[in-house]
């Protein structure tokens, strides 16, 4: 697998999914008050949409210019 610049969408979605997975694994979801579930989902979804909707940085000419290997 090749290394690439950080992909924020994958990072944040991964962190959210990992957190929920660990919560389910520990059985902690049943103890949480369900009145918080709606707002939590809304905030999580909002963060992911914000990250997904941000303008992507296009590679500039400087980036594409070959680097001197001196």
């Amino acid at each position: 697998m090749q290394r690439h610049p950080v992909d924020l969408l994958s990072l944040i979605a991964g962190a959210l999914v990992l957190g929920l997975g660990l919560l389910l694994l520990s059985g902690g979801l049943r103890g949480l008050p369900m009145s918080w579930a709606g707002p939590a989902v809304a905030i999580g979804l909002g963060v992911v949409i914000l990250v997904a909707a941000r303008p992507e940085r296009r590679p500039s000419e400087d980036d594409s210019a070959p680097h001197d290997e001196a």
């Binding site: 697998m1 090749q2 290394r3 690439h4 950080v6 992909d7 924020l8 969408l9 994958s10 990072l11 979605a13 991964g14 962190a15 959210l16 999914v17 990992l18 957190g19 929920l20 997975g21 660990l22 919560l23 389910l24 694994l25 520990s26 059985g27 979801l29 049943r30 103890g31 369900m34 579930a37 709606g38 707002p39 809304a42 979804l45 909002g46 949409i49 909707a53 992507e56 296009r58 590679p59």
Partner: protein
């Protein structure tokens, strides 16, 4: 494979030069999975498995496939099938999207019932309804997505007009496919298998929600890894599909044993009475009214993983009830409790008649105990 680019494609292509098109060659049915695989840089086989899986479980895969086939243009074409039809009748996709958002907003708002009576003053007033939050969220997200969709191509057109002699867009070769998605799928299956073995060998009770928890944790780790090495954004889609199932499964704490369907038990004597009644899904009615009276306390454990459990007691019976519901309702005689993680206890003592000690469970559904049956099935 590199999809052929049309005039409009050069404006729509993302930074990596890829455009979303259905394959016209090297495809199985409509080229949807192949096209999505090319665009998201994942193996189309993975997507085909996903579509087939969703077709088997509820048929959503077929709907998604047909929708994608209608909305994604084929290679070498400017417009999708739907866009072609809309252009013929004079409706642009942007206008149609605005209409859809407006209709959705009207439907949601018309279904809100914010009015109520303030008990302290007795006057009719407005209350905040949580559904309003979702309505506003849907409208705002729709608005933002539409604005984004409308502004990006316009800017691209201006840029292309300002530099008419600019060199034509150069197709960049697609990145080599990342095996990360496969690694995660394999790890997910191995992790679930190991957890199942551990639960049997170690005699540990593992709940269905915990299996989903492992699956989501592995997907989450895969996504975090994919933030720097390889790419597997398709895992986000997999996670989105799994989350509702995982949350629902986390409330299923009743034993996953028994059959599926509606069952009715009417034991008349001790020989016909079982100490356990289990059902995986459906409705169980345990009618104890005809049970011949015994002096010893009668212990009964009954559970329905997903569904309704109803116990009908003879009038004048003494009872000790422990009713647990993951998500749903517990109705003990005239007392009703709704919500999640319910654990209701009830005791009633009579000096004559049998004594029942009931351990009742429903993962998602209803536990109901009553004296008289009102109807039945």
């Amino acid at each position: 494979m590199i999809p052929a680019m049309t005039t409009r494609d050069t404006q729509r292509a993302d930074a990596s030069g890829r455009i979303l098109r259905r394959r016209s060659t090297d495809r199985v049915i409509g080229g949807v999975a192949g096209g999505l695989g090319d665009y998201f840089n994942v193996d189309p086989l993975l997507l085909r498995i996903g579509f087939v899986g969703l077709m088997i479980f509820g048929g959503a895969g077929l709907v998604l496939y047909v929708v994608a086939w209608l909305l994604i243009p084929v290679e070498g074409q400017d417009a999708s099938i739907v866009e072609g039809i809309l252009q013929r009748v004079g409706l642009t996709s942007s206008r149609l999207a605005w209409i859809a958002v407006a209709v959705l907003a009207i439907i949601i708002i018309s279904n809100l019932s914010p009015r109520g009576v303030d008990l302290s003053t007795g006057r009719e007033t407005f209350f905040f309804d949580p559904a309003a939050l979702w309505a506003v969220a849907v409208i705002v997200v729709g608005f933002l997505l539409l604005r984004r969709r409308e502004t990006v191509p316009a800017m691209t057109v201006v840029a292309s007009q300002a530099a008419p002699l600019a060199t034509p867009a150069v197709q960049t070769p697609p990145r080599p496919r990342s095996p990360l998605g496969w690694y995660v799928c394999a790890s997910l299956l191995i992790a679930i298998g190991l957890l199942a073995i551990a639960s049997q060998v170690g005699n540990v009770q593992v709940q269905p929600g915990q299996f989903f928890g492992v699956a989501l944790a592995v997907i989450g780790i895969g996504l975090v890894v994919g933030a720097w090495w390889g790419r597997a954004r398709i895992l986000i889609l997999l996670a989105v599909l799994l989350v509702p199932l995982a949350v629902a499964a986390s409330f299923v704490t009743a034993p996953l044993v028994g059959g599926v369907g509606d069952y009715r038990y009417t034991p008349a004597n001790a020989a016909e009475l079982h100490t356990e009644y289990r059902s995986l899904a459906g409705r169980v009615v345990l009618d104890l009214r005809d049970l011949s009276v015994t002096s010893a306390p009668i212990h009964i454990a009954a559970s329905v993983a997903v569904g309704e459990l109803r116990v009908i007691l003879p009038i004048g019976a003494s009872v000790r009830i422990d009713a647990r519901v993951g998500a749903g309702s517990a109705i003990i005689f005239n007392s009703r409790d709704d919500g999640t993680s319910l654990d209701d206890r009830y005791a009633r003592q009579h000096f004559s008649g049998p004594t029942f000690i009931l351990d009742l469970q429903s993962g998602i559904g209803v536990v109901q105990v009553e004296n008289d049956e009102n109807g039945g099935f």
